[in-house]
Symmetry: C2
Subunit: 252 residues, 2 copies
Amino acid sequence: MNVAKFLDPNSWIDGSIGPLYVRLRKRIEDGIESGVLEPNTPLPPEREIASLTALSRVTVRKAIEELVDRGVIVQIQGSGSFVTEKKARVEQSLSRLTSFTEDMERRGMASESKWLERGIFIPSPDEVVVLALGASDSVSRITRLRIAGDRPMALERASLPLDILPNPTAVEKSLYEVLQASGNLPVRAIQKISAINLDEKDAELLGVPENSAGLHIERTSYLSSGRVAEFTRSKYRGDAYDFVAELRLATN
Amino acid sequence: MNVAKFLDPNSWIDGSIGPLYVRLRKRIEDGIESGVLEPNTPLPPEREIASLTALSRVTVRKAIEELVDRGVIVQIQGSGSFVTEKKARVEQSLSRLTSFTEDMERRGMASESKWLERGIFIPSPDEVVVLALGASDSVSRITRLRIAGDRPMALERASLPLDILPNPTAVEKSLYEVLQASGNLPVRAIQKISAINLDEKDAELLGVPENSAGLHIERTSYLSSGRVAEFTRSKYRGDAYDFVAELRLATN
DNA sequence: GAGTGGTCTAGACCACAGG
DNA sequence: CTGTGGTCTAGACCACTCG
């Protein structure tokens, strides 16, 4: 399959939906995936892609832009746009906001939960501040032991404003599924990760010796409006979990 | 100061350099910083900003785009572009690739290093794979104890291909300063973070009791070309350091 | 319906890489 | 010098919010 033919709009542009730049981006991704576009070889020039696809160059650039962000393509002014080698690419799920359920699925493990607490409570001072609650607001709280592949993995306590999760007992498996159903899915989160020695109680729940190293993760999630949707504190087994993050050099 | 006047190009557009969309972005950032543009209030419509600044709407959108990425501005179709509340914003340095030196400066601490190893070595199998070395290539390696505010903070072992760091003894303080000088500054990195119990030797170097929890961080850094520039393994004191990361919901 | 952001176009000029 | 990506424009239409 040659590149010009692969980009011929008649064969794909009606096959997907959404903005043209998204469709083109996906087409290019498919091309890389299927080997039509190979690592270390240049894409056709932007102007040529534009003419091949019958799109404007601005639209072509917008399609490529996201691929550059993800590290799949490197653009060099005056030279060309190149597909990077696979090992240099950032896995797309690295900086992705995932639920524990999804995270474990990605690692090929089934996950379950054992409920420790699930209901509506009077908020702690921490919760009032982080969730921006009013003086008389209550808080939804769900605390559970996360189990994956028959091994306890984490203790997780999530707190949410009552209007975002009015019925905490409705959460059966994935909190994020419930939030998505009500249109309250966070789009961004900040995590603070530190190391702790697990105390006797936590160690017992996680099935490790007292004083074992664990990861303490505090996550604050935001809706697209900028409002805080969720505040979660988790303790992960140090011997069974690692956290992967992507960093970028600031462009300021 | 009113918004229209603040955006009047005569007063600022020549005062900075670079592309127009970058200058406008910085102007808007200044406006938010100085209070001319207030949280929860809408920016002028894109078309109005364009006419006020005598720029095209495309350029205005590009300026705003980055601010939306950082969570400083929220755009709502059909409604407007709003400045978010400060507490909902992502600190710009969160997902930023920083050196230990910078990182400590940001936290208001002076940093120093105690050299444990610095020179050219035969690579370990790990290093050969991660750094994509040839069979006969050597590796530059620098190992040091990082100290901040008179407290040992981390043990750090960095490995780099010889052509990227030909002279490891030239590194006096910041590795990244040396890399920048030679045009080999990484633009992206992947970090894997896990928790470990520090063994006797490491605990002694870090000045904590044996078996204390520590953060183990493996970082692989990439040049803009996609090539691996640096592979670093660090052990941080769990009681003195935390790692902050930003997550996003994938838009696929 | 009026006003907003979201997408798209055709064309121009600039900055840089490489023969 | 030619060809590439980087920036910028003026104008159009669509999709959505809100009164």
